[in-house]
Symmetry: C3
């Protein structure tokens, strides 16, 4: 398994995991737990692809991820209790930050491939990174967390997307731009988490 | 009028009716009553078609159904009171179960036609069957009923979709596979309703 | 700047402004304020374009509008306080009514161009006019205002769309039909507002 594949799976699992937790907190049944986890994991990329009119969708090509979440949902209830004991919050935040960086830059890059103008491309990257959580919260009948907790989560993605776009504009080698921007987002997210930075309201 | 057309109309009416009831419960006005009924009746198939990138949408080809719901919305308020007296809950559950079977298998079949992999096809079938109700509940600011009541509604659709997919894989004649799977879903749904079966949480 | 461009910008600003106010009321942060304003301004047209499978989306072609809302979101908090003092409610209602007329007819016209049947075209026009507000309210975890306040907002759009469709059917010159219908919607909306007309429930 390549490193990128491993990171991808980890990021999807973290997204799904956030869905498991919120669905359980809302006392949902198996159907709800699976659906919310699925939406949390794939909602951002799916919305981006619908807006860009890209098909087939990511989870259609990789049905193994949908099956993985389905199997996890079947065992989610005991799994969450166990995982919460084994896995530290630190590890979840790190995996989530890595996922945010990876998916945001992937989204920005996909938008550029679809000939989006530059500001729209940066927005599409943020949508890819955060709308899984937004749709998860809407289905769970909550005001989306990412819109109200004041933590600079989407801002990190936004800044990193612009770093990627500017590096592309000034001729930086594509792979280097991609990886360094994703790393920048993940690192910035972890820094703001470590120092508990907030935006003003 | 053919049998399939009759069932289709009944299933759409039952979907719309669930929308009328929830919209009235939320004290919505005419615009809300029509919109929620429309979403309840066509939301599942519309979401599936957007995910599969299929056009034109079902209700675009058959605008007579949209007009029917519009006319019903105009008279919904007295209609609901009268209907609740005339129509027994049993009849509503039966019509809804028939609709679930029919629309789920139609959704699975449409996904296969669009070359979806098999697990995704089974999910598309369930989405077609249940997301009308999910979107109805989201618009009405409720946690979707089908995600939290513990009744094996979506599960019935899921199992029937797999019956249909496996029959197709093993060469069973297409029309027979379609009708027997739809019947299986409707029957299973009615059985679980009769015996009030619940999933554990 | 042409008149149509000026009206377009005013209508988008009024939509965004409604998003600023609701997002602030929900105590959202910068990310939420921008996203909700964006959804309020462009949600209706975006949903219509997804249903019609039209691309590129309006705000993709005109990224300057997205940037404008982004800049406004950065200064939204003091802006809203100031604007509320400077701008009278009357002015907001007028700009909103003009926007409703313009966008509803534009939506109906776009649906006709996509060969929608006539009733569906009238619905697409209403969707364009009102679903920005509907999606704004859903994201803010509220039952959509336009579904429950009993004010004939969507009805005005619906009637004007039919005026436009019938004028087209009976050979009225296209531009005249377009402008007079948009004016009819705006005027009717302002009349119902002035006399505080309500629909029965």
């Amino acid at each position: 398994m390549t490193l990128i594949k491993f990171i991808e799976i980890m990021a999807i699992l973290v997204g799904a995991f956030s869905g498991f937790i919120e669905a359980r907190r809302k006392r949902m049944d198996l159907v709800g737990v699976f659906t919310v986890a699925f939406i949390a994991a794939f909602g951002g990329g799916t919305l981006r692809d619908i807006l860009l009119d890209r098909r087939p969708l990511f989870w259609v090509i990789h049905q193994e991820y949908a099956i993985l979440i389905f199997v996890l949902a079947l065992v989610a209830s005991p799994l969450i209790r166990t995982l919460r004991q084994i896995v530290s919050e630190r590890l979840i935040v790190i995996a989530d930050a890595v996922g945010l960086g990876l998916f945001s830059i992937a989204g920005t890059s996909a938008a550029l491939d679809a000939n989006m103008p530059i500001f729209i491309a940066s927005m599409m990257g943020v949508i890819t990174g955060i709308f899984g959580g937004v749709l998860r919260d809407i289905v769970c009948n909550e005001v989306p967390m990412v819109f109200r907790d004041g933590k600079p989560y989407a801002i990190c993605a936004f800044l990193g997307n612009w770093m990627f776009l500017l590096m592309g504009k000034y001729g930086v080698e594509h792979d280097f731009a991609l990886w360094s921007s994703a790393l920048f987002i993940s690192g910035l997210r972890l820094l703001t988490w470590k120092f508990d930075l907030r935006m003003g309201r």
